[in-house]
């Protein structure tokens, strides 16, 4: 451990000019202890990762830190953040994150939320937009548009892993994660992330039945971005979602699935960059 730290230090010392340093701090939010990673300086950008955790430590963050202080909480039950029994839903998590904004004394916050992270952003904004400036939502989950017999969101638990991968990615070779290549530590992280996601999103399945009726309360500028080939939630779901948020814009990215920022990072930034300005 000690040797590793020593070896890592010169790298950090050599890099600061081009690459901002990440700091980790733990916040007590109600009964949960939430680890928050922060990088860069500038306008606050709250990044809420997806259930697949593809966002932290990516070139995307490097790009964002050029103009922003990027604040990345690990959702309770992910990484080292704890998931107490009192947290049973995404709705609960949104209250914790609103508390986090208060504790960090953040105002004029832009939220960048991916998939379940986008759902959390909407849950937050429908409760209190006072400290928010903009929402950028990438394939957000959280509502149900269709009727009782419609499957709005594909059942990721019902299908074989290889089938789910094809639903998530337009080109499966772009999935940064290959399950059979994971180290023991990575496999444990992945297992815990999936358990937490199931615990919070199994039923009602990846949505809060009340949320769609509250979206009128999102009073900040909102952009919804969708992969044209998303097999988990179709772009039509995204368009309907965007329509429910007053004034929200919708953008499509071709040749991309549920994680357009992973599959088409350049096209993604081309849409996101002007929105963040």
């Amino acid at each position: 451990m000690a040797a590793q730290k020593k070896a890592a230090q010169p790298k950090k010392a050599a890099a600061p000019k081009t690459k901002a340093r990440t700091t980790r701090k733990t916040y007590q939010l109600q009964e949960a202890r939430v680890v928050v990673e922060t990088r860069g300086t500038g306008k606050p950008l709250l990044l809420l990762h997806s259930e697949d955790r593809y966002e932290h430590n990516t070139p995307l963050i490097d790009e964002l830190t050029k103009n922003h202080r990027v604040i990345m909480p690990w959702m309770p039950g992910f990484d080292k953040s704890t998931l107490p029994n009192s947290v049973t839903s995404i709705d609960d998590i949104s209250y914790l994150y609103l508390d986090l904004l208060d504790q960090m004394k953040l105002t004029d916050v832009t939220i960048l939320g991916f998939s379940v992270g986008g759902w959390i952003a909407n849950e937050m904004a429908t409760k209190n937009c006072a400290h928010l400036k903009k929402l950028a939502l990438i394939a957000p989950l959280g509502i149900k548009n269709g009727g009782a017999y419609d499957r709005d969101i594909e059942d990721i638990y019902f299908h074989r892993f290889d089938v789910v991968k094809k639903m998530k990615f337009h080109d499966i070779k772009k999935d940064p994660r290959v399950l059979t290549d994971m180290s023991d530590k990575e496999a444990m992280d992945e297992a815990r992330a999936r358990e937490t996601t199931a615990q919070l999103c199994w039923d009602p399945y990846f949505h809060n039945p009340s949320l769609r009726y509250r979206l009128n309360r999102v009073t900040v500028k909102t952009l919804v971005i969708w992969g044209a080939n998303d097999g988990i939630v179709k772009p039509a779901y995204g368009r309907a979602y965007a329509k429910k948020i007053p004034g929200a814009k919708f953008a499509n990215i071709s040749k991309a699935g549920h994680f357009p920022h992973v599959e088409q990072p350049d096209a993604f930034m081309k849409i996101l960059r002007p929105f963040l300005r």
Partner: protein
């Protein structure tokens, strides 16, 4: 030792295995033909009537969305068996208590069956296999804790006799719980549990006075678990649990000759060979421990017991005590060895039927088991006389202790010609 007959009510007429991906969860019911199925249901119920005539007890279970088990609403078949049999104890193993949206409905069903059978119900609860979570939509991360919450509430409902109580727990909320009827057995039916490799769960079960059951587990695995429970209780300063707090279910076949037994057991073996399932159905997130799930995700662990046993032959099963078969004397010898090896158990659930085994073959195996095997093993295993509800098994509250007695009730009882019957009075327990 108590003996139970078991068939899982299989639907054995399947397309070739490469034409479907799973026996469970997603197999469409267009492979089920009611013209045949209706007869099968009645044939399986007939097996239990025969078990009763032969002096065996009955065990029935429940699974959903699967051809392995057509008994998708076990309280119904258990109710029929309760009505149609005379003396068998009827074990439901069990009610999927972790997946029940309304455990009070279950408490009512069980109390009714207990009354209809004059106190012959052994009431089992299961967490349910992982496949069940896709149909029930219950959260796999919650099933262990939810199982216990459900059972505790049902027990409270069965033992509360002074009107409604309030319950607002972690998952279940009821403001006016007042179960009618009260159970026939006092204070409530004996409770059974099942389990796999979690010794703490098994210990908690036995400590609560519940009979802990293991299915198709190799002798070494059972020994590890049962010994683990005994050691845990000893650590807590509790007395050694009696044998009847442990139950075991192997595949069983008895023939007049070894050849006949082999023919029978090969038919029962259908249960093992016909268990194809898509891998993700076996491990929804949160159902197993995180480490095991991590290994499953990375491909280090694929199917566990199910895959292992599918690929190994019959003799392997016999050596490991999972299949017990042969002539009556061979079966007696094998069961005595298992009893000794695992340090005792009090209930043997014999899976004497599976697949498309014809009624006549199952009946012959059952008869040989009941007439020539069971009598040689009856005395095996001690019965608890101190712990929990088992001691008063099969008895209603004594009339003298019944607090709801009124003149009107006495008059009604005399007018209806009702007398308190206890069909188990004559049944002597194994010493």
């Amino acid at each position: 030792m108590e003996f139970y007959h078991f068939t899982e009510f299989p639907w054995p007429y399947l397309p070739p295995e490469d034409e479907y991906t799973s026996m469970r969860v997603n197999l469409p019911n267009n492979v089920y033909d009611p013209n045949i199925g209706a007869d099968l249901y009645n044939s399986y119920l007939d097996q239990h009537l025969l078990a009763d005539e032969l002096g065996l007890n009955c065990m029935l279970n429940e699974h959903h969305q699967t051809a392995t088990c057509m008994n998708s609403a076990a309280p119904l078949s258990v109710a029929i068996v309760a009505r149609e049999t005379k003396q068998a104890r009827i074990c439901i193993l069990g009610n999927p208590a972790a997946n029940l949206r309304d455990p009070i409905r279950c408490a009512e069903e069980m109390a009714m069956i207990d009354n209809i059978s004059h106190g012959r119900l052994e009431c089992g609860f299961v967490r349910g296999v992982p496949y069940e979570l896709f149909g029930s939509n219950c959260n796999p991360t919650e099933t262990s804790a939810r199982l216990w919450e459900s059972i505790d509430l049902m027990k409270k409902a069965w033992t509360t006799h002074d009107g409604p109580f309030n319950y607002e727990g972690r998952w279940i909320h009821k403001r006016q719980v007042n179960v009618w009827p009260r159970p026939y057995q006092e204070p409530h039916m004996p409770i059974w549990m099942t389990g796999g490799s979690d010794v703490n769960h098994a210990t908690r079960s036995v400590e609560s006075g519940y009979t802990f059951t293991m299915f198709l587990t190799p002798t070494t695995g059972m020994k590890k678990m049962f010994d683990g429970v005994r050691a845990n209780l000893k650590k807590k300063g509790l007395p050694k649990p009696s044998d009847d707090l442990f139950a075991f279910m192997p595949l069983v076949a008895v023939g007049e000759t070894e050849e006949e037994a082999l023919k029978f057991v090969q038919q029962v073996f259908w249960y093992v060979t016909h268990n194809k399932a898509e891998p993700q159905f076996r491990a929804p997130p949160g159902y197993v421990e995180t480490e095991l799930y991590a290994n499953f995700l990375s491909g280090k662990f694929s199917g566990g017991r199910t895959d292992a046993i599918r690929t190994k032959g019959m003799e392997y099963f016999r050596e490991n005590g999972v299949a017990v078969y042969g002539t009556p004397d061979q079966v007696v010898k094998q069961l005595k060895n298992i009893y000794k090896d695992i340090g005792g158990f009090g209930h043997l659930i014999a899976m004497l039927h599976s697949g498309d085994m014809p009624y006549k073959d199952a009946a012959k195996s059952m008869k040989l088991f009941a007439k020539e095997v069971a009598p040689q093993l009856r005395g095996l295993g001690n019965v608890s006389d101190k712990v929990g509800p088992l001691k008063d098994r099969g008895r209603p509250i004594p009339a003298a202790k019944f607090s709801g007695r009124t003149a009107a009730l006495e008059g009604a009882r005399a007018k209806a010609g009702v007398t308190v019957r206890s069909p188990n009075k004559k049944k002597s327990k194994a010493a």
